[in-house]
Structures are given as C-alpha cells and as structure tokens.
C-alpha cells in the first residue's frame, strides 16, 4: 500500500491524532466522507509479517515467553500485559515518565505504535445502557451523560457490524443486545458455572468479543479471516480475525486515497489561531530525528488514548486557552477512573479433574456474569452504588498455572498437577469506579518531561470506600458461585487492583450539557474550540462496569457524522 508524504504546506480537512481504536475509526469515517485526513501516530509503523508472533510458542524461546531477566522491571515496568513476543507493541517506560503522589501509585499501560492498543486489547465489546448513561438519575451520584442509549444505539450497530462482534442476544435490558456474529461456545466447566450462577438468580452469558466467528463482506474486503482459535491474540493477530486498526479501519481509510499517514510523529501541542481561539493545526516532534514540524488542519480529532489526549490538551496553552485547550471550566484532567478488578475467587471443579486435556484456551474468551447489583429496588445495595460483573472461566491452558497452588514435590506433585490441570475455575471482578473530581491528572508541577522534552502528567488517584465495599461484595459473590458449582480449594482474592491496572482509564475530558462543568459537548466537541473533537475514553462521564472500546468506537462514528454536517454548514 502507498501512503502520501505529509506536507507542512497543505491544510488538511482533518488531523487525527492517534491510530488506535478511536483514531483508526475517525480516519476511516472521515476519509470515507470525503475528508483529506492527516493521521499522526506517535510510535513507529509496524510490519505484521515480521512483528506479529501469533504462531510462536513460548517453548521456542529460551525465556519461555517471559523475556530475558530484568527487561520488564528495568525497561517496561508499567507495561503489565507485555510479554516477550509483544513487548514492541508497548512503550518503553525509560522514555515516557509520569509521576504520582507518594503512596498512591498508578499503573499506566501505553502503546505508541501504529494501531495502538488495538494490537493487543482484550476484545470484549459491550454496549452501555441507560443504567450507565443515566446513572446519576438512577442513584443520585454525580451527573448523567448528555446522551441516552437511544441516541447512540445506531452507532453501536454500525461499530459492531464493522468490527465483527461474536455474541448472543441475551435479552438483558441493562446489557443491550446488538448485531452479533455467532457466539463462541462455553467449555464444560463454564457450563457448570452457568448452571450455578443461574441457580443463584444471576445471569451468566457468553462474552461479546471483537473476533470474527463468521466473515462478512466488509471483513473479507480487507482480508480479514475467521478466528482459528490459536489463542495468541495479544501477540498480534496475523489473520485479522481480531479487530484492530491495521487490519480494518486503516486499510479502509487508505483505500479512499485521502489518507496521509505519518508515524513517529509526537504531537507537542495543538496550535491555535490567536484571533478565533480555534485550532489551526498541531506542532509535532519527530520521534527519531527530533525535528520540529507543524501541520495545519481545519479540524483536529484528539484520539491519543484517555490520558495522552488530556495531556496534549493541558499542554496546549495559549493566550486564549491559558490553562490548556478546553479547560475554561477547570474540569480538564478531572474525574479520572479505571475499572477495578483483583477481587474474586478461584478453585477447582473436581468433576473435571483427571480428564484428558483438550484445547480449551484457544478461544481466549471465557464467561461474563453481567451486573446484578443496584439494577432496581430489589437489588439495591446499602453499602455501595453502581455495580460489577465477573469475567472468568474454566479452561485448560497451555501453561499449568495450577502448579503454583499445589504443595509438595516429586512424582506425587506431578501427579497432582496433572490431575487438577484440567479443572481450574476462576472469577474476577470488573467493577465501576466512581467518577470523583479529586481523582485527576495535571501537568507535573515539578517540571518532569519525557525524552522529547514534553511535560508529563502527574496522576492523583485512589479508590474510595464505595470501591472497597463493592470489592468485598464481589469476593463473597464469586465464592458463592464457585461453591454452588461444586468447586473445591476455593481461594479468595480480596485486594483491589491498583488504579490503571485494568487498562480502562477513562474520563478527564468529560462530555456534558454545561460548559462550566464539562470539557466536551454531547458530540465530543470541545466547548472552547469547536473545531477540536476528543473521541477516545477521555470523553466518558463514568466508567460503568463494561469494557469501554465499543462505546469509544460508537462515539467516534457519531462525532465524525456530526462534524461532517457541521463542516458542510460552515459551522466549524
């Protein structure tokens, strides 16, 4: 495929910052609508043939997929999900500092590479419902989103059809159904969990995953193939079964002939017209050459991932925007959330012990227990607001992780490992964290910079009593399900994950109805600069307890449709 050379002399119709889920979708939507788009990616390009390791077994490496001793702790200590074969998808923490308050750590996983975090994301694709969009009306905490489910529903449809989401129509009002490909079946142990969960009056459904279980024309057109269940999604999916930008949205954008892609382009700040206060383009530093460049655009789409987008806006100070672009409300950077996990339970299902091993981990899916707390008056909790779901499953994996939980040594130890290897079961929480003003990110007041001299973020975040109480309830509920399923050797997990660990950092440039209390309007448009749109997770008002990417994609499509119309009307 050919790409045009970026030009500093040209005025692009739109500049898109970031090539992950949102940036890729924005590039596709806008080029297909006739826009000349300059897509800027801070990281390097990628050659899937050379850099994806889908078919590589851990045993092919002397380090068994864990990498040489010390690399992670010394170079990529924040990149929790990076492995030996995927470490190049992630940033090096040696070049990308951020700071925190003493005793309040944050874990920040970042991908600066063409395709961003879509190269290794978890693929869970849930819709939010009005239980989430109108959560404040439901329980009185914080504010509602400025949009309702009905408004975003058509865009969820579009996103699902484009991406390809496997799932069932489960008929749950608070977990809306969509346009699905065939769901991925449950394993034997997961069927046991389903029976047990439903015996307690809760639901257990098959996860909705952005993986092709059937290939539609819009997938086939770009060479995407059906999933063959190799189970190595995080090492790069060479067949395009897993949705990511480089197999899907970017080829579609490129096909229009209106895409210009520039990699290794770190945006320092958004440049502003001194007369109007509107954006006129971006200032960029080349990651490799340190060359300083400027590009001009009529519209700027900020889609660099939640915290990077907010960092960019905060660093975009000017006479018109002295506290950062979009920060006249003082809300920019605030209401940072992540989901929390960590709490849950694990054990063994004795009825599955000692059976012949079969390939169960290739599907890399598992189960999902949708939220069952605070749905209505009957499920209202006294000790916490909002709710949580469970991810988990029961599957034989390539690596016998059960060995860590079995005591002893020698032949008896091996015998026990072989026996229980086929019977693991686990549930882990995916829970809402309340959006609170006091959890925020700011430009580090100490003056810390990254390797390109760009001021970094200081992140202030900690869980509240609400999360603690919800976590306790989650651990107890997980144990209850496992007991009901007949599990033995149940181990409880009671510590919440450190903020950031679930890699669902959201908020910090929230949308709203009131320019004095929000950064964006309901169209992801910056109140203070109407030709700037923030389309990634920064726009979220709350986290709900569902994975956010499908909502990010739907909001991006919606924002692009809106800005196209506004552009036609001459309003931008």
């Amino acid at each position: 495929m050919q790409t045009k050379q970026a030009s500093s002399r040209k005025i692009y119709d739109a500049i898109v910052i970031g090539s992950g889920a949102s940036g890729g979708m924005a590039a596709k939507e806008l080029t297909e609508r006739g826009f000349e788009v300059l897509l800027l990616e801070a990281g390097p390009p990628i050659n899937p043939k050379r850099e994806f390791s889908m078919n590589k077994f851990s045993f092919e490496s002397a380090y068994r997929g864990y990498g040489p001793p010390g690399w992670k702790a010394n170079e990529q200590w924040q990149q929790d999900t990076a492995g030996e074969f995927s470490r190049h998808f992630y940033i090096k923490d040696t070049e990308h500092p951020f700071t925190t308050d003493p005793g309040k750590p944050f874990l920040w996983v970042r991908a600066r590479i063409l395709g961003g975090k879509t190269l290794h994301w978890g693929r869970l694709s849930w819709r939010f419902s009005d239980l989430d969009f109108k959560a404040a009306s439901h329980d009185g905490f914080d504010v509602d989103w400025p949009i309702s489910y009905k408004e975003i529903e058509p865009y969820y449809d579009k996103a699902e059809e484009w991406v390809g989401v496997a799932g069932n129509r489960d008929g749950l009002w608070w977990q809306p159904d969509g346009k699905f490909l065939p769901a991925i079946p449950l394993t034997c142990g997961e069927q046991k969990l389903k029976t047990a969960t439903e015996g307690l009056g809760w639901k257990l459904i098959q996860p909705r995953l952005a993986m092709l279980t059937a290939v539609k024309p819009q997938h086939r057109k770009y060479g995407r193939a059906q999933c063959h269940y190799c189970g190595s999604c995080g090492n790069g999916c060479s067949v395009g079964a897993m949705f990511n930008s480089i197999s899907s949205t970017l080829p579609a954008a490129n096909e229009t002939g209106r895409l210009t892609l520039r990699t290794n382009s770190i945006v320092r700040h958004i440049t502003v017209d001194n007369n109007t206060g509107k954006a006129k383009g971006v200032a960029v530093v080349d990651r490799l050459t340190y060359q300083e460049l400027e590009f001009s655009g009529k519209v700027v789409i900020v889609a660099g991932s939640t915290l990077e987008s907010t960092r960019l806006l905060l660093n975009s100070k000017s006479r018109q925007h002295p506290n950062g672009l979009g920060n006249s409300s003082g809300v920019l950077g605030h209401y940072l959330v992540d989901h929390f996990g960590g709490t849950g339970a694990s054990g063994f299902l004795p009825m599955l012990a000692g059976r012949d091993p079969v390939n169960e981990d290739g599907k890399s899916s598992g189960i999902f227990v949708p939220r069952f707390r605070n749905l209505d008056a009957a499920t209202k909790q006294q000790k916490f607001l909002r709710g949580y779901g469970f991810e988990g499953g029961s599957a034989i994996g390539a690596f016998p992780g059960v060995a860590r939980r079995i005591e002893g040594f020698g032949s008896e130890f091996k015998k026990q490992v072989r026996r229980w290897y086929t019977a693991p079961v686990a549930l882990t929480t995916r829970a809402a964290m309340l959006s609170r003003f006091e959890n925020f990110a700011e430009i580090d007041p100490g003056g810390v910079v990254d390797a390109w001299g760009i001021p970094v973020l200081r992140i202030h975040i900690q869980h509240s009593e609400n999360e603690r109480e919800m976590g306790k309830d989650a651990t107890a509920s997980a144990a209850e399900i496992l007991k009901k399923a007949g599990a033995e050797n149940i181990t409880l997990s009671e510590n919440l994950t450190v903020p950031g660990r679930i890699i669902h950092e959201l908020g910090t440039a929230r949308m709203g109805d009131d320019p004095k209390k929000s950064v964006l309007n309901k169209w992801n448009q910056v109140w203070d600069a109407k030709n700037v749109f923030v389309t990634d997770g920064a726009a979220f008002v709350n986290s709900a307890n569902q994975n956010p990417t499908l909502t990010i994609l739907a909001l991006t499509i919606r924002a692009c449709e809106y800005l196209t119309e506004e552009m036609k009307r001459g309003n931008l």
């Binding site: 700071t99 309040k104 874990l107 080349d286 050459t289 100490g446 003056g447 810390v448 990254d450 510590n495």
Partner: protein, 195 residues
C-alpha cells in the same frame, strides 16, 4: 503503508532532555544514546540534603566513552517528582518500622498493591546541574538534563537506599510534609552514601 522509512537527522547539537538509569549499589548507572554509540554514565551521589523543600543529592557524573573517562564533580541532582512503585514493597531494614512510609492504608481507603504504608518509590526524576556536554565529550546540550532513576534493586545497598529514599519522598513530597521524618531519612541516606 505500515513500513515508512524514518528520515535521518541532521548533525546539529540538540538538547538532551533525559537520561535513564538504574540504581545499582549507591550509584545511578545508565547509557546515553549517541548515534550508534552508547557511552556509559554513572551518577555517584556522595551527600544528600533538603533544599527548598526538595531532596537534593550532590555527587560525581562520569561518562565513559571510547576508552576515555570524563568527570564532572559536585553535580547536584534535585528531585523533581517520583513515580510510585508497584507490587511488593521493599523490606524495611532491620529494626525499622515499615510504617515510616505512611499510615496503612492511607486515609482508611482500600488497600491495593503498594498503596499507603506499603507504597514506595519506583522511579525518581532528578534535574542535574551543572553539566556541560562538551566537558563530558557528549554532543548534547545538557543544561537541563533530567536523570530518570529507576529503583529496582538487586543488591542490599540499593534495597536499603530505596527504603530511605521512599521515606524521604513520603516526608517531603506528600501533601502533609513531615520535617522530622525528612531529617531522619536524609541523615540515613547520608550515612549510606558515605560507606
């Protein structure tokens, strides 16, 4: 589309914004990327103090390149900010209570990995001055270079220093600074740097 060739840079002297290092023993050791060469550097603090409410180290900055060793003495490293460490906290030296790092858990909020009293410092970000690139044989402007000091100790000296650096950070950089704890931790750091 996915394999654009990066442009090559010109030969102009550029500002070096940061260098990465690991705390090994009492020293911060790392490499500086100069084209294809990677000269090794060591920052060896010999004393610590508190200046304007910030931890300040003083020591020697050494660069070893092409068989030559160049040094700058009395280089100050002012601690700008830190990044919290994750997972297991370092063990307190014998006879010292871990609670020096703070109350457990902070403000009665839920415990997560490395929060509150189990919190510790994972990276220290210092501003180095004065440093001159030409004196050190480096083709960079080092006037405001930042030393990123990663603390992932694999030896006892670094482990104990990490603990006391963490206490000093807790005492000086928390929302409620603690002068006496700061003085105690700085005294301990000075003892350790003298050995």
């Amino acid at each position: 589309m996915f394999t654009q060739t990066p442009k090559t840079s010109g030969a102009a002297i550029r500002k070096l914004h940061s260098v990465h290092s690991l705390l090994i023993g009492r020293e911060f050791k790392g490499e500086i990327e100069v084209g294809k060469a990677r000269p090794a550097f060591t920052y060896s603090p010999v004393s610590a103090t508190v200046a304007n409410g910030k931890l300040e180290l003083t020591g020697r900055f050494t660069v070893k390149a092409a068989g030559q060793v160049r040094k700058s003495e009395n280089v100050k490293a002012t601690l700008l900010a830190t990044q919290g460490g994750l997972t297991t906290a370092p063990q307190a030296p014998r006879g010292i209570e871990l609670t020096l790092l703070g109350k457990i858990p902070t403000d009665g909020l839920p415990a997560t990995d490395a929060t509150g009293g189990t919190g510790y410092v994972g990276v220290m970000y210092f501003r180095l001055s004065p440093l001159n690139g030409r004196t050190l044989g480096l083709p960079f402007d080092l006037s405001a270079v930042q030393l990123n000091g990663r603390l992932n100790p694999v030896d006892e000296a670094a482990r104990v220093l990490q603990f006391w650096y963490s206490v000093a950070v807790r005492a000086l950089y928390d929302s409620t600074p603690d002068e006496s704890l700061a003085a105690k931790s700085v005294a301990e750091i000075n003892q350790l740097l003298k050995v």
